[in-house]
Symmetry: none
Subunit: 405 residues, 2 copies
């Protein structure tokens, strides 16, 4: 969505009491397992969604761009109404969001791998034999105890999983414009941190001191005696959804990445819940206080990543059962869509557009009797970028005035 539209939208925002619920079924979009077969959504028994589809508008959203398989970060930002190219969140920052690390605007974050080097410092394994998370945690403890940050700088070292971790530098005047230190090959030493831009030279020097301290602290480890850093990024706070779209947004999501993304756009994030029933209770309890609700359903993506068609079908059927209780809240606008597709046939995220169902009193119908990718294609909402969704939700909630006379 270009900034022309955004500039105009801000002028058209209007407050009212109407409430929008956006249910994101992560990775919902699918594919047939064999040519001509059904997708996961087509194979699932979804009486509630199907009944809703007959009185809703359907369409397809393209998450980020043609042919582009998005990560959860850009895909969610698009659904929240943020152009994912303009607001391209660095990998280090996304990793921080993913482990619930509370980043501040003074932070530069980077992902790291434990790696193994030989006695002369040459890389023999860029992932340290994929050491266990416990082994990672033991090394992280040693690093935390041994590293001395320069004056005015704090250094945080965090385990992510297996050989992966997160480094955060906190201080004034730091800059994330630093090249990866991973040389992407073996038999050569790790690269020093080099500034992309002269503004980053001070930060690069701090990183290089950190790396040499880490190498010294880890030198007795047989595996994982070095760290490789990549995806350096400064944490740049985003304009909030309140500022951009005038909504008070509330997020119900369990995984750190989605909680972090919601926080990044200024949503209030609900405490953790343990089931979809609790999610619904959380939604119900907070329904009076907010006017935009983001509810994240993860299983569709997880089962898609597993490549387990039957399990993804079952997850969709579980999703279907949530619908009546959500609708009992009588939101002005209810939308169900996905951040991206995760077809079992690929067992990973894909570039395929995602199905969209939008229900409000102001819907055009397609005559479809089922909620499926096929029926969404050619639906009244068309095929459009995901970033278009938010203004359409606002319009159906009557939160946008007329443009021009």
């Amino acid at each position: 969505m270009d900034e022309g539209v955004m500039g105009v939208l801000k002028e058209l925002l209007e407050q009212n009491d109407s409430k929008i619920i956006l249910l994101v079924a992560d990775g919902l979009g699918g594919l047939p397992m064999t040519p001509g077969g059904p997708t996961e959504l087509e194979a699932a028994h979804t009486p509630c969604l199907d009944a809703l589809a007959t009185i809703s508008s359907l369409g397809l959203l393209e998450p980020v761009g043609p042919g582009i398989t998005p990560g959860s970060g850009p895909a969610h930002l698009a659904l929240f109404g943020y152009d994912p190219f303009r607001y391209n969140i660095g990998r280090g920052v996304l990793e921080g969001l993913g482990i619930d690390f509370q980043l501040t605007p003074r932070d530069v974050a980077a992902r790291f791998n434990f790696a193994t080097v030989d006695h002369s410092g040459r890389l023999v394994d860029r992932r340290a034999g994929r050491i266990s998370t416990e082994e990672n945690e033991r090394r992280v403890k040693k690093l935390r105890a041994g590293i001395t940050p320069p004056k005015g700088i704090e250094i945080f070292i965090e385990t992510v999983k297996e050989h992966r971790g997160l480094v955060v530098l906190r201080g004034d005047g730091l800059c994330g414009e630093i090249h990866d230190t991973d040389p992407q090959g073996l038999g050569v030493p790790a690269l020093p941190a080099r500034a992309v831009d002269s503004k980053a030279e001070k930060t690069a020097a701090i990183v290089n001191t950190l790396i040499s301290q880490a190498a010294s602290i880890l030198k007795d480890e047989e595996k994982g005696n070095m760290i490789l850093l990549r995806g350096f990024a400064k944490h740049e706070p985003l304009p909030t959804m309140r500022e951009r779209y005038g909504v008070h947004a509330f997020a119900i999501a369990q995984y750190p990445m989605y909680r972090g993304l919601a926080r990044l756009v200024g949503m209030t994030v609900a405490p953790h819940t343990a089931s979809t029933d609790e999610d619904i209770r959380m939604l119900t309890g907070n329904f009076p206080q907010y006017d935009f609700f983001y509810l994240h359903f993860k299983k569709t993506d997880s089962r898609g990543e597993d490549g387990d068609f039957a399990a993804k079908v079952a997850a969709i059927e579980e999703l279907d059962k949530m619908i009546p209780e959500i609708l009992q809240l009588k939101p002005s606008v209810f939308a169900l869509t996905a951040d991206h597709s995760t077809p079992c046939a690929l067992a990973m995220h894909s570039w395929h557009p995602v199905p969209l169902l939008l229900h409000s009193p102001f819907c055009r119908l397609s005559g479809a009797k089922r909620f499926s990718e096929r029926n969404c294609a050619g639906g009244p909402l068309g095929l459009r970028p995901s970033v278009h969704l938010l203004p359409i939700l606002l319009a159906h909630a009557r939160k946008l005035m007329k443009f021009g006379a």
Copy 2:
């Protein structure tokens, strides 16, 4: 496709062995001859395409923009993944490509007409009574013999057809920012060449000397005693498909314009062939060496331009027969589409979106039983700009990595 998408795409390119075949049936899109009647594609008997359509994704591509009837140049560039506005190839350069003139980056090309002026230099016929190609060639010989280019400049004068020709200036520091000399009316003299920009003043002066020499050389001709120049353009080499999209592309096309366009984006162009059977053999023979294949089928456009509905239907049926042999090569991705529509009802290019069929193991189906404009509308690929096609082909060929985490 904005440059945000392009910038990201470059970072996502991944090499693999998968192969993409893009079959462009020139002018394939059609219209009913009478309201409610079938289009050419709907009237044709296309068992191979119909069978393929049941296991493929369908959609519509808009070549250049809403309502815009494109020439072959911009329409093909869009299919090759080049924004046709950003890469707006000048008319003079396109004319050069169209007659297989090998342009270099030091060239400024312009189209010209032989025109007729009276004794006082006023235009009486802007097309010299549409003199024959032979008469054109006779005048071109005289011009070549008589014109003296300034030091350091070469001048090429080429017959195109009937009253039309091509002038190419070759030298250092030339600039194509020059207004047309055709005043677009009679009873007035030809305009002098005027620089749009001061950088073009030297070039404009060379053109004016050329024009006065030409007028002097042609003064005894009863018709075609003057030349009018238009569409001045510097030949600017384009970034190659290899640079932009990481593919080694091979082109099979017979007409100079398409060969020239393919060369312009860095494709290797096959030697001429004499039949579609030879095209298939050329494709088969080169299949191991490249990973992107552009195959051009011209007859659908030619018969459309003739306004001959039955002949265009027959051309489509000939196209249909090529499909099984192409699929025997087992490309990872096969796409059939058109550069633009050429409906017999109009007997010319039109602005209508073109049908698109995309076959890969990762296709969503529309449930269509036939390949037709009607079934492409509302298909899973939606209606989108032609320039979106290339990234989608790369995605289906698994040549694009994930964007963001």
